[in-house]
């Protein structure tokens, strides 16, 4: 059922990575993403691959889940490989035919670039696999909270409230869409056949009822929120306090050491 669709593909297991403070997780993974670009030789990238493999194992998320992610970007991956393979003319020529010239440099470049893309995908997937959308929202709100010093406090709150409500209502609206589709089908609506334009037009009888009911829901929700003393987040407290644990400090240290090694490898090779 579409109802069970999880947004942000969270994978619920208990692992060290799962238990990290989401704020740290976001920052550390962004650092790793940046260092994927900083690593500019095979040794540095090799270390990067090894590190990411360790992270994958610690996260307890099955490798097949990560592979699923890579499958989606396979076309981009192949494109990157081919582009680098043909356009980088560097080193010994292995094969030459008409305008195509394959060189050792080209092969190594294409392997290097595709590894980079793979790493990028896996690192970002780690974040979404190990962090619930709610934690992500909270973390983003907290990370943005310094913005209140430049007068953007209520904007940050509004954004995070919007994200919270959107996450809350996605399953509800999906369910509603299913109902509307079934209701329209029961009245003889045809969504599967016809030319492109006809099919696009067939979506209108789904969208309009959905829009109307969403507006109604919004009114109801506004009244319910008002009844629960919502006033736009002024003086709002949070039940869940994010606490920095030992694991967060240790992972930060590990990532710092790792980044230093990448820089060292970059310099020496």
């Amino acid at each position: 059922m579409i109802k069970d669709l999880t947004i942000g593909q969270y994978y619920p297991v208990n692992s060290l990575i799962h238990s990290l403070d989401p704020r740290f997780k976001i920052v550390l993974l962004v650092v790793l993403l940046v260092f994927t670009f900083i690593a500019d030789n095979f040794f540095a990238l090799g270390l990067m691959v090894a590190f990411v493999l360790v992270v994958m194992v610690i996260s307890k998320v099955p490798f097949s889940m990560y592979l699923k992610n890579l499958k989606i970007i396979l076309p981009i991956l192949i494109f990157t490989m081919l582009l680098n393979l043909f356009y980088v003319a560097d080193g010994v020529v292995l094969y030459e035919f008409w305008v195509i010239k394959i060189t050792v440099g080209g092969i190594s470049r294409s392997v290097f670039m595709s590894l980079r893309v793979i790493l990028l995908i896996i690192i970002s997937a780690t974040l979404t696999y190990t962090t619930t959308p709610n934690d992500l929202t909270t973390a983003i709100e907290r990370l943005c909270s310094p913005l209140r010093f430049i007068g953007l406090g209520s904007a940050v709150h509004t954004m995070s409230m919007m994200m919270t409500i959107a996450l809350r209502f996605i399953p509800t609206l999906v369910e509603e869409t299913e109902k509307i589709i079934n209701a329209q089908k029961a009245r003889g609506a045809d969504f599967e056949s016809g030319k492109l334009m006809q099919r696009v037009k067939a979506i209108i009888p789904i969208l309009i009822p959905l829009l109307i009911s969403s507006v109604r829901r919004a009114y109801d929700l506004a009244e319910a929120m008002e009844s629960r003393c919502y006033n736009g987040g002024k003086n709002k407290t949070m039940m869940k306090q994010l606490k920095i644990k030992n694991g967060d400090i240790i992972s930060t240290i590990v990532v710092i050491i790792f980044c230093c090694s990448i820089i060292t490898l970059n310099i020496f090779f």
Binding site: K3, T132, P133, N134, T164, I165, L167, R168, P171, T172, E175, R216, R217, D220, L221, E223, A224, M225, E226, S227, R228, C229, Y230, N231, N235, K236, T237, M238, M239, K240, Q241
Partner: protein
């Protein structure tokens, strides 16, 4: 000593519409006693939902006054105090839950009140336990049944420590078992925690356990009394557009045809006993 939590005097309310001025609530007077369980019955369009929203200041009276613990709902400085005292539960369970984790939703009210995090934690746990949803505290509302969602909504209100809960047709969108869950929860809160309950509904059998039943139509209160008194007036209830429970109707028809049965009974067991006594 009569101690009223809600006092309504000469209440008028009309939606702002210049073309056809028609009052939704007309000259309504009502006092609700602290700790009582009041059921307001009325068919769709009788003005009962509007009345609910007037009770916690979501709507402001066009004329007359609504007082909660002596505070006028038109007093803007008391707005939070009133909403904290009179909690609201609405009809559609999906449209009143804010967060996608049960416990975070329950925490929404106390968070808005600016309560310290560890106290919110205590209140949330307490609220979830009192509606029997504690074991679902980490679930997503979208995975719960209608009755469970409605119980979470009630917990969200309980976490604000209200003295009164107004429920606006909380069971209208639920299946029979969900309805029972919600009604049992409300009863428990009323009896065990002494919370004043105002239950607005068009299901008469939910009025069975009430201390007092009000019948509403055309924006005014037509009758007010004990459940048994109200239920014996079958003709009148039908005239107000209410669905009389089958048991009550059966007894009514029997007594009309000369059988000596007590009227104003709702539950199937009591009805069976009353009929058994005839033979």
């Amino acid at each position: 000593m009569m101690d009223n939590i809600i006092e309504i005097d000469n209440l008028y309310y009309s939606y702002e519409d210049e073309d056809n001025y028609s009052a939704v609530i007309e000259d309504l007077n009502l006092k609700i006693e602290r700790g009582s369980f009041t059921v307001i019955l009325g068919h769709n369009g009788s003005g009962k939902s509007t009345l609910a929203k007037l009770l916690n200041g979501l709507y402001k009276p066009t004329g007359g006054t609504v007082k909660v613990n002596g505070m006028l709902t038109t007093d803007e400085d008391k707005e939070f105090e009133i909403k904290k005292t009179v909690g609201m539960v609405f009809q559609n369970p999906d449209n009143q839950l804010v967060a996608s984790v049960v416990e975070e939703d329950v925490a929404f009210g106390p968070e808005n009140l600016g309560i310290a995090p560890n106290e919110i934690r205590e209140r949330v746990d307490y609220a979830l336990k009192s509606v029997g949803m504690y074991e679902h505290k980490d679930s997503s509302p979208s995975r719960l049944s209608g009755g469970q969602k409605q119980r979470v909504a009630i917990a969200g209100v309980i976490a604000m420590k209200p003295q009164c809960i107004v429920l606006d047709e909380p069971t209208a969108m639920l299946d029979p078992s969900g309805r029972q869950e919600v009604i049992d929860t409300i009863l428990k809160l009323n009896k065990e925690q002494g919370i004043t309950v105002v239950l607005i509904t068009h299901f008469m059998n939910e009025a069975e356990f009430a201390d007092r039943v009000l019948v509403m139509d055309d924006g005014t209160i037509l009758d007010d009394g004990k459940p048994a008194d109200i239920f014996s007036k079958v003709e009148f209830l039908k005239k107000c557009g209410l669905d009389v429970p089958q048991t009550t109707e059966l007894l009514y028809e029997l007594s009309k045809n000369g059988f000596d049965v007590s009227r104003g009974i709702i539950s199937a067991e009591e009805t069976a006993e009353a009929i058994a006594k005839l033979f």
